[in-house]
C-alpha cells in the first residue's frame, strides 16, 4: 500500500467522528465540512513527514477546529462583528485535544451527524445523497455516477438537502434515551435506503454502486460499534451483508439479471455470510425480534442452502408471516407469495398476489411475479399483459431485459425478433 493510500484510508475512517465533532463546534454543516477539508489537506502535507498520529480523528478535530476558527475570524474582518456564540466556546486549544473519542461526546456526535442526514423531513433521495457526501465523504461526482444523474443535478440535490437541514435546525442538546432510540431508528432506515439505492443501481457503471453498498455496510457497522447491544442494528448489519454477499452472482457476464435460484452460489462471498450469521446469532439472544432481524433471518436461510432445492421455504413463509404481523405491507405479502409458490404451487401464490393489485399496480415486481405465476399456470395471454406492464415500470435496463426474456420464452420467439419489433 502506498503512503497516500494509507493516509486516504485513515482520513476516510476518521471522517464520521471528526465531522461529528466539528459539526458540534460549528453548528453548521458547510463550516464543519470546510474545516474538515482543511484538516485533511494539512494531514496530507504533514503525515508523510511526521508519520501517522496516534489518534487520527483527534488530530483532525483539533486542526479542523483551529482552521475553522481562523476562517470565522477572517470572514469577520471582511464582514461584521464575529458571532460571539461561535467563538466563545472555541477558545480553548491544546487542552481540548483531549476532547477524546472515548469521551461521552463521541457517540452522540456521530449519531447526530448520521441523524442530520436521516431527517424524516428529507425525501429519501436527499437523505441518501447527503449521507454519502457528508458522512462517507464520497465526491459529488462519485455519487452522481452511482445514481446515473448529472453532477449538476446531484450538486443541486445535496444543496437542497443542506438547506432543509439548516431550516429544520440541527438538534444539539444531548439526547435522552427516547430521543436516542428515535434517532437510531431514523438512522437505521437511512442506512437501509443507502444500501437499497446501491443495490438497485448495481447494474449501473462498474463498481460504483457496489461502493455505495460497501458504504452502507460500513455505516451500519459504525452504528453497531456505537450501540453494541441493539439487536435490530445487528439485524440490519447482517441483512446488508447477506444481500451484498450475492453481488457477484446477481448479474451474468452480459449484465443480465440472474435470479436467486439460478445464481452460482460459489460466487457468494463466504466471509460476508460468516459475519452475518454470527451477527444473527448474537441478535437472537436478545429475544427482541424486529423487521431487520427477520429479514436477515430470511436472507440467512438462502445463504445456508447449498442449492435452491435445499431452501427451507416453510421457514421463510413463517418468517414472512411474522414480518407481516410486525410491519404489514403489500410488498412483504408479495415476497411471501414467492415462498408460497414454492411450497403450494402457483395457484395458491396467485391467490395471495391478486388482492394486492390496487396497492401495487405501479410496482415492477408485482407485475413481474404475477406474470411468472400466470405463465406457470398456463394463462399465457394474461401473463403477457402482466409482463408488458412490468417492462413499462422497469427502473433500469436489466430489469426490462429480464422481463423481455420471460416474454421471449412465453412466445417461443427469438430475442432479435422482439428487438426488431420494438425498433419499428
Amino acid at each position: 500500500m502506498t503512503e497516500t493510500a494509507w493516509i486516504d484510508l485513515a482520513l476516510v475512517s476518521a471522517r464520521p467522528q471528526a465531522m461529528g465533532a466539528l459539526l458540534r463546534y460549528f453548528r453548521n454543516l458547510d463550516q464543519a465540512e470546510e474545516a474538515f477539508q482543511e484538516a485533511c489537506i494539512r494531514a496530507l502535507k504533514t503525515w508523510p513527514r511526521t508519520g501517522p498520529p496516534r489518534d487520527a480523528a483527534a488530530w483532525l478535530i483539533f486542526v479542523g477546529r483551529n482552521s475553522g476558527i481562523d476562517q470565522v475570524r477572517r470572514r469577520s474582518r471582511e464582514t461584521a462583528l464575529p458571532p460571539e456564540e461561535l467563538l466563545s466556546d472555541l477558545e480553548d486549544r491544546e487542552g481540548e485535544l483531549a476532547d477524546r473519542l472515548d469521551g461521552s461526546h463521541y457517540r452522540d456526535d456521530i449519531l447526530r451527524l448520521l441523524f442530520v442526514c436521516s431527517n424524516p423531513a428529507l425525501p429519501a433521495t436527499q437523505q441518501i445523497a447527503l449521507a454519502l457526501r457528508i458522512v462517507s465523504g464520497l465526491s459529488v461526482r462519485q455519487i452522481a455516477r452511482a445514481f446515473l444523474v448529472s453532477d449538476a443535478a446531484m450538486e443541486q440535490r445535496i444543496t437542497r438537502a443542506k438547506a432543509r437541514v439548516a431550516a429544520a435546525g440541527i438538534p444539539f442538546e444531548t439526547p435522552d434515551a427516547a430521543d436516542r432510540a428515535e434517532r437510531l431508528a431514523a438512522v437505521a432506515t437511512m442506512i437501509y435506503l443507502v444500501f437499497n439505492e446501491g443495490y438497485s443501481a448495481m447494474n449501473g457503471p462498474e463498481g460504483v454502486s457496489a461502493d455505495v453498498c460497501d458504504e452502507a455496510i460500513r455505516l451500519s457497522r459504525l452504528l453497531l460499534r456505537l450501540f453494541p447491544a441493539e439487536p435490530e442494528i445487528m439485524g440490519l448489519t447482517a441483512l446488508l451483508l447477506l444481500q451484498h454477499s450475492r453481488a457477484r452472482a446477481r448479474f451474468d457476464a452480459d449484465g443480465a439479471i440472474v435470479l436467486l435460484d439460478d445464481q452460482d452460489r460459489r460466487l457468494w462471498s463466504r466471509p460476508m455470510i460468516t459475519e452475518a450469521l454470527a451477527m444473527i446469532d448474537k441478535a437472537m439472544r436478545h429475544r427482541r425480534p424486529g423487521p431487520y432481524q427477520i429479514q436477515a433471518a430470511i436472507a440467512a436461510l438462502h445463504a445456508r442452502a447449498k442449492s435452491p432445492e435445499e431452501t427451507d421455504w416453510q421457514e421463510i413463509d413463517l418468517l414472512y408471516r411474522a414480518l407481516e404481523r410486525l410491519q404489514p405491507s403489500p410488498v412483504v405479502t408479495l415476497n411471501r407469495a414467492v415462498a408460497v409458490s414454492k411450497r403450494e404451487g402457483p395457484e395458491a401464490a396467485l391467490a395471495l398476489v391478486e388482492p394486492l393489485g390496487d396497492r401495487l399496480s405501479g410496482y415492477f415486481y408485482y407485475h413481474g411475479l404475477r406474470g411468472a405465476l400466470l405463465k406457470q399456470i398456463g394463462r399465457r395471454s394474461e401473463a403477457r399483459v402482466a409482463f408488458d406492464r412490468a417492462i413499462a415500470l422497469a427502473t433500469n435496463a436489466a430489469e426490462a431485459a429480464y422481463i423481455r426474456m420471460q416474454l421471449d420464452r412465453l412466445d417461443g420467439e427469438a430475442a432479435p425478433a422482439v428487438v426488431a419489433e420494438e425498433e419499428q
Partner: protein, 124 residues
C-alpha cells in the same frame, strides 16, 4: 518455546479496505506464513471477525453477565485463549461460563467468531 503472536490494528481502517486491498494483504501475509509452515514452525493461523461480532462474558460476584461487544477493560491483560467449534453462540457462551466457574477469580471471556482458520502444520 511456543509463542503466540497477536495482531492489533484499527479495524475502522481495515474494514474500509476494498476487496482488492484486503486480498493483497492476505496474499502477502500468506507468503510469509508459507515459509514458516514449510519449516514446520507455524501452528494455527486465525483471522477474527470484527469486534461488532464479539460477545463478552464477565465474571462478577458469584454470577456471570453477558455483554454485547468486545472486551473493553484496560486494567486486565490477555492471559490465554481457546479455539472451540460450536453450533451456536449460546454453546460457546456455555463453555465460557463453565470456564469461569472452574476459575472463580474475576475475569472476562471475549467470544469472537473466526473469519478464517488455517490449522497449520505443527510438529507434535
Amino acid at each position: 518455546m511456543l509463542y503466540a503472536v497477536l495482531c492489533y490494528n484499527d479495524e475502522s481502517v481495515t474494514s474500509a479496505w476494498s476487496k482488492e486491498e484486503d486480498d493483497k494483504v492476505m496474499r502477502d501475509l500468506t507468503a510469509v506464513q508459507r515459509k514458516y509452515v514449510e519449516a514446520g514452525k507455524l501452528g494455527p493461523v486465525a483471522r477474527l471477525l470484527p469486534t461488532t461480532a464479539a460477545t463478552t462474558l464477565r465474571h462478577g460476584a458469584g454470577e456471570t453477565i453477558v455483554i454485547d461487544g468486545p472486551f473493553a477493560e484496560t486494567k486486565e491483560q490477555l492471559l490465554g485463549f481457546y479455539l472451540i467449534d460450536c453450533g451456536s453462540l449460546d454453546e460457546a457462551l456455555d463453555f465460557a461460563r463453565e470456564l469461569s466457574i472452574a476459575n472463580p477469580s474475576a475475569g472476562s471471556y471475549e467470544i469472537r467468531p473466526l473469519a478464517l482458520y488455517k490449522p497449520g502444520e505443527f510438529p507434535s
